[in-house]
Amino acid sequence: MRLCHPRSGICRAVALAAAALFCAAGAPAAGTPVPHGTLELVSENQWIAPGNTIHLGLHFQLEKGWHIYWVNPGDSGEPPRVKWQLPAGVKADEIEWPTPRRLGTSSIVDFGYEDDVMLIVPLRAGAGAAVLGPGDGSAQLTGEVKVLVCREMCIPGKAQVSLTLPVKSQPPAPDAQTAELFAAARKALPQRAPANWRVSVADAHDSFTLTAKVGQPIAQASFFPLEESQIKDAAPQQFVAVPGGFRLTLQKSDQLLKPIARLKGVLVLAGDRGYIIDVPVSETVAARRDDRGGLDFVAASFSWAPLR
């Protein structure tokens, strides 16, 4: 039985739709190949302008089950690294890392991203227009990316991604084609903790006790340490609800042999929303003064500067 006459409009539409579906499923995504995935360099803005900052995105699309790593990769692995080749006067800032996920459930736990993730990189064009040449021109932005892609096994990859943007003197206009991508990537970034939060961390010999007063009951929370070798990545984080917040017990890493002054990282509450924290570590649990609403909390000074 024939479903439709080959020359009918409906049939052509069905065939086209089928072809589109087939292509969408079968064709590789745009971008440069990396092991078990692709990488594309995209811009949030249509052009760059001296004296302005624009944002680039390193958009990774990975095959199912494969992952890349957060700035602190956890027990194993390695974060992606970029070496930029940029016109004089243009400078790339550090990667803005999205809130990671715990990967692995056994004795080895890593922190990273699966499927689809975009790393945002701010790009600053120097104020002196002269550095980019007189008048309107174009700037080639190239990144040499080293990335470790893992599932059960790990494959190191290298990719060179490039983008040419016009240089104009007027403020950079957003690019509608990438707006959605950047909106999603921004949503995945950890945000500054609300000003009314009170977070304190106490050194309790073999563990750290993190207490967060957030002004509402919280059902679940987990902590991702920004720096390596501070807490046991694979150890369960004991969660206890306390009035107006929660307490997490974080087992210290065996590699942590000296006291630390501050604990930095991302607190993830139920719903996958990440909050940046950077709090001083007090010496003992007894030294904590909960009645005063916890110890000082600093979010503004938080820096994602590279650890190595």
Binding site: D75, S106, S107, M153, C154, Q255, L257
Partner: protein, 204 residues
């Protein structure tokens, strides 16, 4: 259930629980004892080497971080350098059957020959028992045990956590540093680091 059955059950339960209660060894602890078979067919007991320095090297031949140190000849060089000075060098293979890095004794012996590797022995640990005793997270994680049987170093092989061959040169090798300092009667300056590499491919 009569009394003796109950006792037997309790004993069995306690025996089962004991291995779970032993925390993995860390720097400053006594190195946990193990008995395991090497690829050369010999039975290796850690306590047989009391009085000597022992290096444990976690290995997985498919891991690119391990590849960096074998393809550059760095690992073989270290093995030869330190075994010639009386250090016992044990390569440990904790990959479970079916997982990356799992090999039979014959395959491992072929690999050692092909790579001109020179460990004292390559230990077959497909159950991951030795790996878990030392809380080995990655290949190539390294552990150094002193002649008194105390763990004096656990962590990375060096300070360049990458897969690039050119990073071997100029890297600070933590294993050599620990051995040199301990042999000179000094305190090991860097006794614990994050062990970089591929996760150990345990059964669980």
């Amino acid at each position: 259930m009569n009394r003796s059955t109950l006792c037997r059950t309790l004993v069995v339960l306690m025996l089962c629980a004991v291995p779970l209660l032993i925390a993995a060894a860390k720097v400053g602890d006594s190195a946990p004892e193990f008995t395991t078979t090497a690829s050369n067919g010999k039975t290796i007991r850690l306590s047989d080497y009391r009085g000597k320095y022992v290096v444990l090297e976690w290995h997985n031949n498919g891991c690119p971080y391990v590849g960096k140190h074998y393809n550059s000849g760095n690992m073989q060089r270290l093995q030869k350098q330190w075994t010639s000075q009386g250090v016992v060098w044990l390569t440990v293979l904790s990959s479970a059957p079916g997982k990356q890095g799992y090999v039979t004794a014959t395959e491992e012996n072929d690999y050692l020959t092909k790579e001109h590797a020179a460990p004292t022995a390559a230990l077959l640990d497909p159950t991951g028992e030795v790996g878990h005793l030392y809380d080995a997270k990655t290949s190539p994680q390294m552990v150094v045990i002193n002649p008194q049987g105390v763990v004096i170093y656990s962590g990375a092989i060096d300070d360049k956590p990458t897969t690039d061959l050119q990073d071997v040169q100029g890297a600070t090798n933590y294993v050599s540093l620990a051995l040199e300092q301990a042999m000179a009667g000094k305190t090991v300056q860097t006794p614990a680091t994050r062990p970089y590499g591929c996760s150990v491919k345990y059964r669980d």
